[in-house]
């Protein structure tokens, strides 16, 4: 029983139906996260990385109808097919969420103390007074100075970094087993980004939580994650342990992403190395490899059929690229 991962997603496909269009932002993606592990999900905006984590838990904006298939097992329970009240019971209590923009993620007209304490009331059956004490504890835990005063303040009275710490404290209030952090540092100042990331990493270790870290920043991944899933246009391009994928990236897209990180030895004023071209807009699934139009290794076979994920030389890494996997597909 101890061997079963805390979160195991297999062949998850998400279709979003809106009044204007139908799109498939997640197309047959699989990954697992074990207790105490951190998984990074990396990809450009629009690659489906946020939808993949939020849709199975019922966290989609109004006006969108979600259709799920595949399997998402969390803590021994299947999430797909659960009703909204059942999902509501899991949200907050077993899984904590951290959002991209702490400026808008907190209710502007409610005191911070209440916003944290209601979690403890709801999930730990605490009395309001006990919950307030717990909120104070949590605010201390996320490293905020003068915690008692902060609890009485409103979100707009705090800086972005402090607000993100509050959001983290809120997410932790229900004592979750899994923390899903959606670009937790993107909206913050560069100087604050590192602090928040270190805090998250530290908390994850101390509380022995699992964490899914959604980001588009390869630099964030390096220090924080154990495993990595590289997403491109709704599909997995490459998946494996961080130390292997970052050191020897195999998929051309992963290589391009890593190559785009500015380096210390870059001469000042040198041109920014980005990936040429733009990612495809999401819609119906693409027939061949979605990256082929931007890929400098592309061969005619790339556009024929969807490339399967194949184990590379190192068996812990899987890559979906017919060129890199040449000769291995059959094996």
């Amino acid at each position: 029983m101890h061997d079963e991962p805390l979160l195991s997603v297999s062949n998850l496909t998400v279709d979003l139906l809106t009044a204007k269009s139908a799109i498939r932002p997640v197309d047959g993606v699989s990954y697992t996260v074990r207790q105490g592990e951190c998984l990074a999900i990396v990809g450009e905006s629009g690659s489906g990385k946020t939808v993949m984590n939020f849709a199975p838990l019922g966290l989609m904006p109004t006006g969108v109808t979600t259709q799920l298939s595949g399997s998402v097992r969390f803590d021994g329970h299947e999430l797909i097919g659960l009703s909204e009240p059942e999902l509501q019971h899991i949200r907050g209590k077993s899984i904590g969420f951290i959002f991209q923009d702490p400026m808008s993620a907190l209710n502007p007209v409610r005191r911070i103390g209440r916003q944290i304490a209601e979690m403890a009331e709801l999930h730990l059956n605490m009395t309001p007074r006990a919950a307030e004490a717990r909120a104070l504890e949590l605010v201390k835990l996320v490293g905020i100075s003068d915690p008692a005063a902060r609890l009485r303040q409103y979100p707009h009275e705090l800086s972005g970094g402090l607000r993100q710490r509050i959001v983290i404290a809120t997410a932790l209030a229900g004592e979750p087993k899994l923390l899903i952090a959606d670009e937790p540092t993107t909206a913050l100042d560069v100087t604050v980004q590192a602090q928040i990331l270190r805090l998250l990493k530290d908390l994850q270790k101390r509380l022995n939580m699992a964490m899914v870290l959604i980001t588009h920043d390869m630099g964030v991944v390096a220090g924080a994650a154990d495993n990595i899933v590289v997403m491109y246009a709704a599909r997995t391009a490459e998946r494996g342990p961080v130390d292997k994928v970052l050191v020897t990236p195999r998929h051309p897209y992963t290589r391009g992403l890593i190559n785009a990180i500015p380096r210390r030895e870059d001469p000042i004023g040198s041109e920014f190395r980005g990936l040429p071209g733009i990612p495809p807009t999401l819609g119906a699934p693409i027939k061949g490899c979605a990256f082929a139009p931007r890929c400098d290794l592309a061969i005619p076979a790339c556009t024929g059929s969807r490339p399967p994920l194949v184990q590379s030389v190192d068996s812990s890494v899987v890559v979906a690229c017919p060129v890199v996997n040449q000769g291995r597909a059959a094996a």
């Binding site: 047959g28 699934p285 994920l309």
Partner: protein, 298 residues
């Protein structure tokens, strides 16, 4: 014919029920004299306060006048007076708004302050104050209502004018040395009029209410010209014995206003995403069903 197409496409975006009600109101109002089955002011005390009959489909009022004919004629009264009010109010409003939007600076500040004050006083009070000073009468009513109505179109046309003036092609025209007159009459005014017309139409319902209210108070349309509000107040003393004469004009007016209000709600920007209708959902489902699902994992 080709010119009609974009207009029809525009109309198609609005709720059909609103268009039907407004169309009916305008048609009745325009052709009322020919549509009314009987002379609306022919009195006959012998047939007063009667119920529906073959001769009088909706009965007669306390003076024996045919209610159906009076209701139809009242649509004409209402249409004409609402039209006059809106045309005058829009002329003032568009003029003030475009001048404010063209000049900006202190002219803009002053005009918009006046508009703010105008908008903060209920239109009925403004109109009544004017009537109280000048004395009642048809044109007093029209002018009083126009005076109460122009600030709204003034504010809208100012907003439209400002956005037009900030467009690059106006800047280009200025650089090229186009005269202020050409910019004002050639570009600013036509653009503003179009946009304000739409809002004004949606506002016609409230204007119709105001005309009826003033007539109800005896300070608007004067007898014997039939008007819904005035028909209602005429019949009010006989509410217990003949409620139909009160309810019919009330319903006619309410229906017309509902039509305009539905239109207004459709025009007001809807920022909130709506859930899919059942039909749309089924359509999207079949679309998605056609997409292949494959497990790419080895």
């Amino acid at each position: 014919m080709n010119k009609l197409k974009p207009i029809l496409a525009q109309l198609n975006k609005f709720p059909r029920i609103a268009l039907i009600v407004i169309g009916l109101f305008v048609a009745l109002g325009t052709f009322a004299p020919w549509l009314a089955p009987q002379d609306p002011s022919a009195q006959n005390l012998l047939t007063a306060s009667q119920g529906p009959s073959v001769a009088h489909w909706l009965g007669t009022d306390h003076l024996g006048r045919d209610t159906l004919s009076r209701l139809i004629l009242a649509a004409n009264t209402s249409l004409v007076s609402v039209g006059s009010v809106l045309i005058i109010a829009m002329t003032i409003g568009i003029l003030m708004g475009t001048i404010a939007g063209y000049h900006r600076g202190w002219v803009d500040d002053l005009l918009m302050r006046v508009v703010d004050v105008g908008l903060s006083i209920p239109s009925l009070i403004t109109a009544l104050a004017v009537i109280g000073i000048v004395g009642p009468g048809y044109w007093t009513m029209v002018l009083a209502l126009a005076l109460a109505w122009w600030p709204m179109s003034g504010r809208i046309s100012r907003a439209v004018a400002v956005s037009i003036m900030s467009k690059p092609h106006i800047e280009a025209l200025r650089v090229l040395g186009a005269s202020p007159w050409r910019i004002y009459f050639g570009h600013l005014l036509p653009g503003t009029i179009g946009a304000v017309m739409v809002y004004a139409t949606a506002d016609a319902g409230t204007a119709a209410l105001a005309v009826a209210t003033l007539s109800f108070l005896g300070l608007g349309i004067q007898p014997p010209t039939p008007e819904w509000g005035q028909m209602l107040v005429d019949a009010l003393p006989y509410l217990e014995s003949d409620p139909r004469q009160v309810i019919l004009p009330g319903l006619a007016l309410t229906a017309a206003v509902i039509g305009f209000n539905i239109l207004g709600e459709a025009i007001a920007l809807n920022r909130v995403p709506r859930p899919l209708t059942r039909r749309m959902l089924a359509m999207r489902r079949t679309e998605v069903a056609g997409w292949s699902k494959e497990n790419s994992d080895a």
